[in-house]
Amino acid sequence: MLEVDIYKKLQGSAGEMALDINLSVKEHEFIALSGESGSGKTSLLRILAGLEEAEGSIRFADEIWLDEKRSFPTQKRGIGFVFQDYALFANMSVEQNLLYVNRDKALARHLLKLTHLDALKERLPASLSGGQKQRVSLCRALMNRPKLLLMDEPLSALDPQMRRQLQNDILNLHKEFGTTTIMVSHDPSEIYRLASRVFVLEQGKIIKEGTSKELFLKAQGSQKFSLRGELLDIIKADVIYIGVVSIGQQIVEVVLDEKEAKVLQVGQSVQVNTKAFTPSLS
C-alpha cells in the first residue's frame, strides 16, 4: 500500500503552481497518471523516488519515506524507475547496465530473454534502437526486484508498433514481478490496455480519478461516438466546407456548414460527435 499526501511549490511554465496530491495505491496495482504537460506528473514521480524534496508524508508498505522529520534517501527506497530518455549508462554494455544494479546474473539473463534482448547483451547503448534502449531500461529497473516501479512516459518517444510490443512487455513484467506500478502516459489506448486506475492531474491537483473505462469511454450527452482531435484544415468545396481532423494516427474529413466553418479555427482541438449510425468493424 502506497499512501501519498504531499505539497510542493513548483515553478511551472505558467508561473508558480502548487503541487498538492493526496492519493493511495493498493499493492500490485497498475496506476496511470495523465494530464497536460506541466501539470506536475513528473514532479510527483520524482518526489516518490526521492529525487526531489516536498512537504508532507509518503508511506510505502511498512516504511515511512517522508514525514516532517526526515526524507528517506533515494538509494534506500528500493524502487525501479524508467525514464523517458532511457538514461542508460552509456559506458556499459546492455548486460553490464543490468549487473551494475544487482550482480544477479541469472535474473539478468532471464529479463533479457523475456524482452528478446539476449542477442544484444554485449552491445553498447549508443548502437541500439529506441525501442531496444527502452527495453534495456525496463529490465534494468527490475534488477533490484522493486516493490514500486515508476515510469515517466516510457513509450512516448517510440512509434506505434513498437509501443504495442513494449506495452505487452511492461504488462508481463508487472505481473511476473508483482510490482506496484505508476506510469505517466498521455495515450488513452495505452492507459486502457495497461492501467487499472487513472488519476488525471491539472495544475498540480488530481481533478479526476477512476478506471480507464470510466474516464475515457464516457461520451457526453447522447452521442454514440465521441472522438477528440485536432482541426488541421478547412477546405471550401462548392457550397459546403470540409474540415480535416487528425484523430489519433488517422486523418478524417467532416462536413461543416458555413456557420461552423467561420467559428472554428485551424489548429484548434475539436470533438467529433455522431449519433445515428451503425458502424461496422472489419
Binding site: L51, Q75, F81, F83, F89, A90, N91, Y100, L124
Partner: protein
C-alpha cells in the same frame, strides 16, 4: 653534429617532471571541486568560478609576484614552512610546483566541470535509484562517460605547465637542474644570441606540443563516436 651532442636535455626533463607532478596534484584537487560545481545550486557558485578562472586573465607576473610574496621567508606561510618543517618554498623545485598549481588550475577544472555538467542527469539519478552512493556513481558512471573531458583536462594542464614562463622565472629563477625549465632555457639562449640552440629547443617544443594535441583530438573523436555523444 657537434651542436646536437653538446645539447643539454635537462631543462626538458625538468619541464616534464614539473608538468607531470602539477597535473597529478591538480587532478586530485580539481575533480571534487568540479563535481561540486557541476551539481550545486549554491549562490556562491559564480564567486568560486570567478576565482578559479583568475589565472587565465591575470598577467603571470601578478601571480608570480604574490606567490613569491606569500611563500618567501618574510611571510608567515614561508616562515612557518622553513622554521617548523625545514622546507624552503621559493627558488627551488617545490616552489615551482606550488606556483604551477595556481597558474594551471583553470585549465584543469574547466574541462572537468563542463564534462560533468554535460552528463545526462537522469543517468546519474538512475544510479542513485539503483542504490549506489554519490562516490560510486561518480567513479563508475560519471568519470567513464566524460573520458574526452578528462583527457583534455590532463593534457591541456600538462601542456600549459610545460609552456609556462613568467611565473616560473619569478618564483624559480633559473637554477640549472632545479628551476631552469625548457621555456626559461630558450629565453636565455636568445639573450646570449645562441640562435642555433634556441631554434632546436623551440622546434622540439613545437613538434611535441603538436603531437600531443593531435593525439588528444584523435582520441576524443573516437570516444564521442563510441559513446554516442556527438
Amino acid at each position: 653534429m657537434t651542436v646536437w651532442n653538446s645539447l643539454d636535455f635537462e631543462p626538458f626533463l625538468l619541464s616534464f617532471k614539473l608538468a607531470g607532478l602539477t597535473t597529478l596534484i591538480l587532478f586530485m584537487i580539481a575533480l571534487p571541486l568540479a563535481w561540486w560545481l557541476a551539481q550545486t545550486r549554491c549562490k556562491c557558485k559564480p564567486v568560486v568560478e570567478a576565482i578559479s578562472s583568475l589565472p587565465i586573465v591575470l598577467p603571470p607576473s601578478v601571480i608570480g609576484f604574490y606567490i613569491l610574496y606569500a611563500l618567501s621567508y618574510n611571510s608567515p606561510i614561508g616562515a612557518f614552512f622553513e622554521e617548523t618543517l625545514g622546507i624552503k618554498l621559493v627558488f627551488n623545485f617545490t616552489g615551482l610546483v606550488i606556483a604551477s598549481c595556481f597558474y594551471s588550475f583553470p585549465f584543469m577544472i574547466q574541462p572537468l566541470q563542463s564534462g560533468l555538467e554535460s552528463l545526462n542527469k537522469n543517468m546519474l539519478e538512475a544510479s542513485y535509484i539503483a542504490g549506489k552512493s554519490k562516490l560510486k556513481t561518480l567513479l563508475c558512471v560519471g568519470l567513464p562517460n566524460i573520458k574526452p573531458a578528462i583527457l583534455t583536462a590532463l593534457i591541456v594542464t600538462f601542456a600549459h605547465t610545460v609552456g609556462e614562463f613568467g611565473v616560473v622565472l619569478m618564483v624559480g629563477g633559473s637554477i640549472p637542474g632545479e628551476t631552469k625549465v625548457a621555456s626559461v632555457a630558450i629565453y636565455e639562449f636568445v639573450e646570449v644570441l645562441d640562435y642555433t640552440t634556441a631554434h632546436i629547443y623551440s622546434v622540439i617544443m613545437i613538434v611535441m606540443s603538436f603531437l600531443v594535441l593531435l593525439g588528444v583530438y584523435t582520441f576524443n573523436r573516437h570516444q564521442s563516436h563510441r559513446l554516442g555523444v556527438a
